[in-house]
């Protein structure tokens, strides 16, 4: 004989179920798994982006991002110190997340906190002007000043010494913008939002 439940009874059961620790644990397990997949995909996209690879390549990298028309590379154009790893600190930031679970009347909602674009821009300062973001500059334009300062430092203090030797003159061409971290973050946020929209009851 089929059991017939009224709406009120169903609601009461749902309410009770969301308080059960086994239910909570299962929700956490499902959310964690789905988020980890999203996060892995995001980091994979970040790691394989031509801008990331080029900057990660340091002073000897080739301009695979095509931002400089194939001449020089982003690491020296921006003016990073030789031996520094600007991608590492950015990736460390992108690795951060926090999943919050909120008990509602008959369900559990999920809120996932990840770095905002503003936080990313603050965490990616130009080596010669800390108020400016190189990550944003990739998308909106970067002046060639960093490269000049690298060249100047060849005579005095050292910055990217190796790159200077391979590039005798300051490049006269212009920087070409391209999409980078904002675009990656937009996809990331979209996937997170879809996960947050799911209800667990």
């Amino acid at each position: 004989m089929a059991l017939k439940l009224s709406n009120k009874e169903l609601q009461t059961i749902e309410k009770q179920a969301t308080k059960e620790s086994s239910f909570k644990q299962e929700v956490r397990r499902v959310v964690q798994k789905e988020f980890v997949d999203i996060h892995k995909q995001f980091l994979s996209n970040f790691d394989s982006h031509p801008v990331t690879i080029e900057i990660k390549g340091g002073t000897s990298a080739t301009n695979i991002s095509k931002t400089l028309g194939g001449i020089g590379n982003l690491f020296t154009y921006i003016g990073f110190d030789e031996g520094s790893d600007p991608i590492k600190s950015l990736r460390n930031l992108l690795n951060i997340y926090e999943i919050q679970y909120h008990n509602r009347k008959r369900s559990i909602s999920v809120q996932i906190k990840v770095p905002t674009k503003e936080e990313v821009f603050i965490a990616t300062p130009m080596p010669w002007a800390t108020g400016r973001s190189w990550a944003r500059g990739i998308e909106r334009g970067i002046s060639g000043l960093g490269q000049y300062l690298v060249k100047s430092n060849r005579m005095g203090r050292s910055r990217s010494g190796y790159a200077i030797e391979t590039q005798a003159r300051v490049r006269g061409g212009r920087f070409s913008n391209r999409s980078y971290i904002s675009s990656l973050l937009n996809d990331y946020y979209k996937n997170i939002k879809n996960l947050e929209k799911k209800t667990f009851s």
Binding site: M126, T130, R132, G141, S143, Q147, Y148
Partner: protein, 282 residues
């Protein structure tokens, strides 16, 4: 080519920036100096007397500024129009009719901007690394006129960066997002910090749209006769058509990098993100 969106934006921004820095930072000072006769090959039919300071203030909106410079000669004050007297506010000088006696001892009392404001005509790196700037004369130097047309520091150079149109509303309304950069050249760190502080506070404010016809100065650098009672930024920019400054980011060239720059100045940047809701495809 007609004046398009970016032209008008830059014109409007220039006038707003000038007014904002002067007014909020009280970035101006009155001077009483001699004016020095010199010839200017670009102006054949006038007699030119130049001051040691460029970019006199002409905006009536700036409190306690002398927007009607007081010019005196051997026989006392000379009213505007007498002997063809006109002001060239941009170059900090006065012009007389060609028959004016060049041996006259001319002096002036006027207000000078702490920062000259220019539209940049070269890239940021060229400005900073190859810029040969004249400095507005200061104490301890022999006072003479500053040569006309050259750019003088302390100064702010404005330039447009990237522009993108993002969908905003039904009916083809986009949010046009434009990056505008001001490169600030200052004589000392106090001055630079002051300018950066003033401009940082402009975030989330608005400025009015001013068409090219609203530009205040004539080809001689005097206030246009259209402004019969004088140029007042607050009146010109108050027609309800506004741009919004969404974000402002200020920064300075780091200390170590500053030492490698050939110009003997302190350099800072103000990066603005400007919004304008418009219908670009209509």
């Amino acid at each position: 080519m007609k004046a398009l969106y970016q032209h008008v934006l830059l014109n409007s921004f220039y006038l707003w920036f000038d007014n904002f820095l002067l007014k909020k930072g009280t970035a101006y000072k009155d001077y009483r100096t001699d004016l020095y006769y010199y010839t200017d090959e670009r102006i054949q039919n006038k007699v030119v007397f130049g001051s040691p300071y460029k970019q006199w203030v002409y905006d009536k909106n700036i409190p306690n500024s002398i927007v009607n410079p007081v010019i005196s000669g051997d026989s006392g004050a000379i009213a505007e129009g007498t002997s063809g007297l006109t002001f060239d506010f941009d170059n900090g000088r006065v012009l007389f009719d060609s028959d004016f006696d060049t041996g006259n001892n001319i002096s002036g009392y006027f207000t000078v901007k702490d920062f000259n404001v220019y539209i940049a005509n070269q890239t940021e790196e060229t400005m900073i690394t190859a810029g040969k700037y004249k400095t507005n004369s200061r104490y301890g130097r022999t006072l003479t006129y500053v040569p006309p047309y050259d750019q003088a520091t302390p100064a702010a150079f404005l330039s447009l960066g990237a522009t993108t149109n993002e969908p905003f509303a039904f009916g083809g309304v986009d949010n046009t997002i434009t990056d505008i950069t001001a490169v600030i050249f200052a004589e000392n760190i106090y001055q630079l910090d002051g300018a950066l502080s003033v401009m940082a506070d402009s975030a989330e404010s608005v400025f009015g749209n001013i068409p090219f016809t609203g530009s205040p100065l004539t080809e001689y650098g005097d206030v246009k006769s259209d402004y019969s009672t004088g140029y007042d930024y607050a009146n010109v920019a108050a027609d309800g058509d506004y741009y919004m400054i969404n974000k402002v980011n200020v920064s300075k060239i780091s200390d170590s990098s500053n030492k490698t720059i050939p110009v003997d100045l302190f350099v800072g940047f103000v990066d603005f993100e400007v919004y304008k809701y418009r219908t670009p495809r209509s």
